[in-house]
């Protein structure tokens, strides 16, 4: 909310500088987000009184104005029609600057010397009005430098009002808080509303309310004989500085009083109200209603409607109707000042998509006890600005609401805050914001809550007020008094730490992608319809189609991240991502699962003077997967891949204890192409939750053998029909003394030749040559017994 300090000054004496004021408000919970400094664009302009007006001897449309600046009497040539004797006007004296490099000089106009220039608002740069000379308010003394007056000078506070503080959506509401910080009391404007007309409102207008819960208070006032015109500068200035557009004197007054007091008002052309009556009704059926912006709005049952004798004339609290709005020819006006049910207004405003300044205030709840004062204030200003005669009295229906009371103890307060605030300080703080103590005992007190504080309903609300006024900075920092408990670290957390360490150690860059992707990714990856990954959770209101559903795979986004980097010149990448995927298991059943995703492309390094690097292949990725799963205390096997998006032949399913825990391999190049990638990507996606179930992080020491190992190397020809993993397993099974079986060479001529190193180890004795030799014979015997394996000589 924008608050001009010049306006605020009318309610409270601001005896601190603006920065200090801003800080006080911020520390009260009314954050000042910025201070707009309004400074004049002109210099050398003073207020002057016109003492004489004579026609210009040489020009019909010019006049010669004699003006008094308090110090001297000057003659100025003027072309505007709106000057009159005794009017106060801005005089740009000789040497004055009016912005844009324009300097006022002494110069002859049609043969008569002009000692300066009388200015319009536009010429002073304070508004766009150029219809005439800017007539200054009477109270400005001749000689006043206008650059230093509020006309051109102000500070506007931009205050972020918390959503629960509707009472601060007015200058007066802010003034109440300011007054409390400055140990003052905010003052309401003093005025006397006199009825100039003989007529009484009750003789000329009717009022009924159908449902007092929807509208517990409604006041109708009348004024006749007004003339619609532009509001004076001071009012337009304040409206503009608050971010509102001036329209005409009547509409401006309704907006002005709303900004001033927080009470939204509505003005009807009284002549256009059928049967001169207002009936506040709750819509019972659907209809449409044309609002003053010429849009037909749907009305739903429950909306509050303001009706005249023939039908709706306004949607209550939201917008008036075209059929009753104030026009340039309006002479008799009816003013509405009312309190509408906040929930009802919010529902209607939300449905219609209209968030007006009025609906905003009604939604948050206004001061029901201030409805009458605001109506009087508006009538007073309208009469001032538009003339006419105010009818005496008013139509009013008012379902009075007793202020709430709350009992609170001092130990409640200091116990929750951790403070030792004295009883006196507590009640003084509350009194400063109009929360008055009604009853007191030695433990606590009962206070009454004024009706404008819709946010205070229970003791914690009151404690909040006390803490705010006491000042958070005066509440100590303490250590909680609590039972010591070791913080828990779950298996998942510990495993995740292991995963991250592993990835760090193996050179992977961790990436993070959004949890959404597109069904197009599913199509590109050729995921069949009956696969669970096709059962995506859709988002009703996605930001874009690319992020239309929750992801069921992480690889598509990882590919995009790789493409992003490849397009920017990085060819060698190692990426790792941990994240969630989401499956629509049933109509109301959504499952979340954690995946680990790896991808690598290019080679370890582009070049080195020391070593030669070769391109990554299937086995680089497989080794990463094997190592990780082993590190998490599980064992995995690999079987030919079943995934439709992988290259058959160099891809595999990852199996742990017979359960499929993921896949590894290279993505088909036609799919890569769709992601604009032209180099091979090896990757793996692992289901973390399955690895967790199968894994074991318990570390158990095994004694280091005291006896030496023995090693034997073997070379076999192995047919392609025999998987090497099977051969290795068979050798291991031959004897518990075989502790390691490794492949140290493999080449292919007519047949695969595989060289195997077997390590023998006993925990009980030094193995003799004879013993090892007999095992060696056994290995050769068993291997060559298998079809497709023969010993290489």
């Amino acid at each position: 909310m924008k608050v001009p300090v010049e306006w605020l000054n009318e309610f409270v004496v601001i005896d601190v500088d603006i920065e200090d004021l801003a800080k006080r408000l911020t520390m009260r919970g009314l954050e000042v987000e910025g201070i707009e400094r309004i400074t004049p664009r002109f210099t050398g302009v003073v207020a002057a009184a016109i003492t004489k007006i004579e026609p210009h001897p040489n020009a019909d449309n010019l006049s010669l104005c004699s003006v008094n600046t308090g110090k001297e009497e000057l003659t100025v040539v003027c072309g505007a029609p709106n000057v009159s004797v005794n009017a106060k006007v801005p005089l740009a004296t000789v040497g004055a600057e009016l912005g844009g490099g324009f300097t006022v000089g002494k110069r002859p106009v049609r043969g008569i010397e002009s000692y300066g220039m009388l200015c319009s608002e536009k010429e002073l740069g304070i508004s766009d009005d150029h219809t005439g000379i800017f007539i200054l308010p009477d109270e400005i003394a001749p000689g006043t430098l206008l650059a230093q007056s509020p006309i051109a000078h102000d500070d506007v506070l931009d205050i972020s009002v918390p959503p629960n503080r509707g009472d601060c959506l007015s200058i007066y509401g802010i003034a109440r808080e300011v007054a409390s910080t400055l140990h003052q009391k905010a003052k309401l404007p003093v005025f006397t509303l006199t009825a100039g007309a003989d007529e009484k409102v009750e003789d000329h207008a009717g009022l009924t309310i159908q449902d007092l819960a929807a509208c517990p208070r409604y006041i109708l006032k009348l004024i006749k004989g007004i003339s619609i015109r532009q509001s004076p500068f001071w009012m337009r200035r304040r409206l503009t500085r608050c971010g509102m557009r001036p329209i005409n004197n009547i509409v401006d007054v309704t907006n002005y009083v709303m900004l001033e007091l927080g009470q939204p008002l509505h003005a009807f052309d009284f002549e256009r109200l059928a049967e001169s009556r207002i009936d506040v009704r709750v819509a019972g059926e659907r209809s449409t209603f044309r609002t003053l912006d010429s849009i037909d709005r749907p009305v739903e049952p429950g909306d509050i409607l303001i009706c005249d004798g023939s039908g709706p004339v306004a949607i209550a609290g939201i917008m008036g109707g075209e059929n009753s709005e104030i026009t340039a020819s309006t002479t008799n006006m009816a003013l509405e000042s009312a309190y509408f049910n906040p929930f009802s207004i919010r529902a209607t405003a939300r449905r219609l998509g209209i968030r007006s300044e009025a609906s905003l205030r009604f939604e948050k709840g206004i001061d029901i006890d201030n409805v009458g004062y605001a109506a009087d204030r508006a009538m007073f200003l309208m009469h001032e600005l538009a003339g006419g005669a105010v009818f005496s009295g008013q139509r009013e229906i008012f379902e009075r609401k007793e202020p709430r009371t709350i009992y609170i103890t001092y130990s409640n307060i200091n116990g929750l805050l951790g403070t030792h605030i004295s009883h006196e300080a507590v009640t003084r703080a509350l009194r400063s914001i109009d929360l008055h103590v009604m009853k007191e005992d030695e433990n606590g007190f009962t206070i009454s809550i004024p009706n404008f504080r819709h946010d205070i309903g229970e003791t914690s609300d009151v404690i909040e007020e006390i803490s705010r006024i006491h000042g958070f900075e005066h509440i100590p920092d303490t250590s909680p008094v609590t039972v010591l408990k070791a913080q828990k670290l779950t298996i998942k957390d510990r495993s995740l730490n292991t995963v991250r360490e592993y990835c760090l150690g193996t050179g992977f860059f961790e990436i993070i992608n959004f949890s959404f992707f597109s069904t197009r990714d599913i199509e590109l990856f050729r995921i069949p319809d009956d696969d669970e990954r096709s059962r995506c959770v859709p988002i009703m209101n996605p930001i874009s189609r690319d992020w239309g559903v929750m992801r069921t795979m992480m690889m598509p986004a990882v590919l995009k991240s790789m493409a992003y980097n490849i397009n920017r010149g990085a060819k060698n990448l190692r990426f790792f991502e941990k994240g969630k995927v989401f499956f629509q298991d049933g109509p109301r059943n959504i499952r979340e699962e954690t995946l680990l995703c790896f991808a690598l492309t290019g080679k370890e390094k582009e070049y080195s003077w020391k070593e030669k690097y070769t391109d990554y292949d299937y086995f680089d990725m497989k080794g990463i997967v094997e190592g990780l799963i082993e590190r998490l205390g599980a064992n995995c096997e690999f079987s030919p891949a079943t995934e439709p998006f992988l290259d058959q032949g160099c891809s595999a399913d990852v199996i742990i204890d017979g359960v499929r825990a993921g896949w590894t391999g290279s993505i088909r190049d036609d799919i890569l192409k769709a992601y604009e990638i032209e180099q091979t990507i090896y990757c793996a996606e692992l289901r973390f939750d399955i690895i967790l179930q199968k894994g074991n992080l318990t570390l158990q020491y095994k004694p280091i053998p005291r006896f030496p190992q023995a090693t034997r190397d073997f070379s076999f020809f192995v047919d392609d029909s025999v998987p090497i993993a099977e051969l290795v397993k068979k050798i291991k099974d031959i004897s518990p003394l075989i502790v390691s079986v490794g492949i140290f060479d493999m080449f292919r001529k007519e047949m695969r030749s595989v060289s195997i190193r077997v390590v023998f180890q006993s925990y009980e004795e030094t193995l003799t040559d004879e013993r090892v030799n007999s095992l060696q014979e056994k290995i050769i015997g068993e291997m060559t017994n298998i079809d497709g394996i023969s010993l290489r000589a």
Binding site: D461, F472, F509
Partner: protein
């Protein structure tokens, strides 16, 4: 027995030593099993007792001398050899080293780990919840009523009516309190979602929620704990302030600001000339939230806080565009 000439014989052997190999040969020829001394010592056995002693002593004296002499030469030539080897294997030590392969954690992970480390050290345990939440856990149980502006479709991703992508990690508060009795002392890190995408918003980001509930937990405790956190996270001298604010699920509510790390508090574009940066929201748990989970709000109190991980990372590392976290550009990632 004649031992005159032995010394000369030895001397002539030693004098032909010209390199390390010669040293080894001469060692054998003099001191070896079939060397000169061995020969003389054999002869000793033929002498009678008295003569044997005198001759033995004389031979030993010569042997001690020879040992020492050969030893010196051995060291001398070893040193020469070592220098030769070294000269042969000389390298340019200014050539680049072979950099090991080493991965990087994402800056969000680094920041999350740091936040978790600090609160873990203060006795908070990590709790988790689902990303796809019911409106009940995300809003109602947190005292955010159905007509609250936060529930507009503009802010919240809806899966279907009643199911949303969580807009904050606060639902974990509710889930935790429903599952256990006080005392509760948790932090809940995780991804959260809002319909926004610009230089300062991404549709997904990360938050850490904190909750402490027990008998006699005070607002001053909240101040104490968060002050420790900020001084650990941003350095012990970091200025901070607690400022009254509004959240539906806490009361009193406080926003915590730290002195702007860019300008040091004098005012700049980043802090919008205020000298302060908003870093987290906090407050005492609202009694309605306790009632919603069936806790006796007369008996217990608590505080809660929540912070945006990206925001903290941006301030800590000087990152000016939140979207950088999600491009996964290696030129960005390799800086952490």
């Amino acid at each position: 027995m004649d031992i005159s000439g032995l010394r000369e014989k030895i001397e002539s052997e030693i004098s032909r030593i010209a390199n390390a190999d010669d040293v080894k040969q001469v060692k054998v020829s003099i001191l070896g099993r079939k060397g000169i001394f061995a020969e003389y010592l054999d002869k000793l056995k033929t002498l009678d007792k008295d003569k044997r002693r005198d001759a033995g002593k004389a031979i030993n004296d010569i042997k001690t001398w020879a040992d020492q002499r050969v030893g010196e030469l051995e060291k001398q030539f070893e040193e020469i050899e070592r220098r030769k080897r070294q000269a042969a294997s000389r390298i340019d030590i200014t050539m680049p080293g072979a950099a090991p392969l080493f991965g990087r954690k994402h800056p969000i992970t680094l920041t999350l780990e740091e936040i978790i480390r600090i609160f873990s050290s203060l006795g908070f345990s990590v709790a988790e919840g689902p990303d796809i939440e019911t409106e009940h856990y995300n809003f109602e149980a947190l005292n955010i009523p159905s007509d609250h502006p936060a529930r507009d479709m503009q802010d919240t991703f809806y899966i279907n009516p009643g199911i949303v992508l969580r807009t904050h990690t606060s639902p974990v508060q509710i889930r935790t309190m429903e599952a256990q009795l006080p005392p509760v002392k948790i932090i809940a890190p995780g991804s959260v979602y809002r319909c926004d995408n610009d230089i300062s918003h991404t549709p997904m980001f990360h938050q850490v929620e904190g909750l402490m509930v027990d008998k006699n937990v005070r607002f001053s405790d909240l101040k104490g704990i968060l002050t420790i956190f900020i001084h650990e996270m941003f350095g012990p001298g970091t200025p901070l302030r607690f400022r009254p604010s509004y959240f539906p699920f806490t009361e009193p509510s406080a926003e915590v600001d730290i002195g702007c790390v860019i300008c040091g508090g004098s005012g700049c574009r980043v802090c919008k000339d205020t000298g302060w940066l908003e870093i987290l929201g906090s407050g005492m748990v609202h009694p309605q939230v306790f009632r919603n989970v069936g806790y006796d709000q007369e008996e217990i109190t608590g505080f809660a806080f929540g912070m945006g991980v990206e925001r903290i990372a941006m301030i800590k590392f000087g990152i000016d565009d939140i979207r950088q976290f999600y491009y996964n550009d290696v030129r960005f990632l390799s800086q952490f």
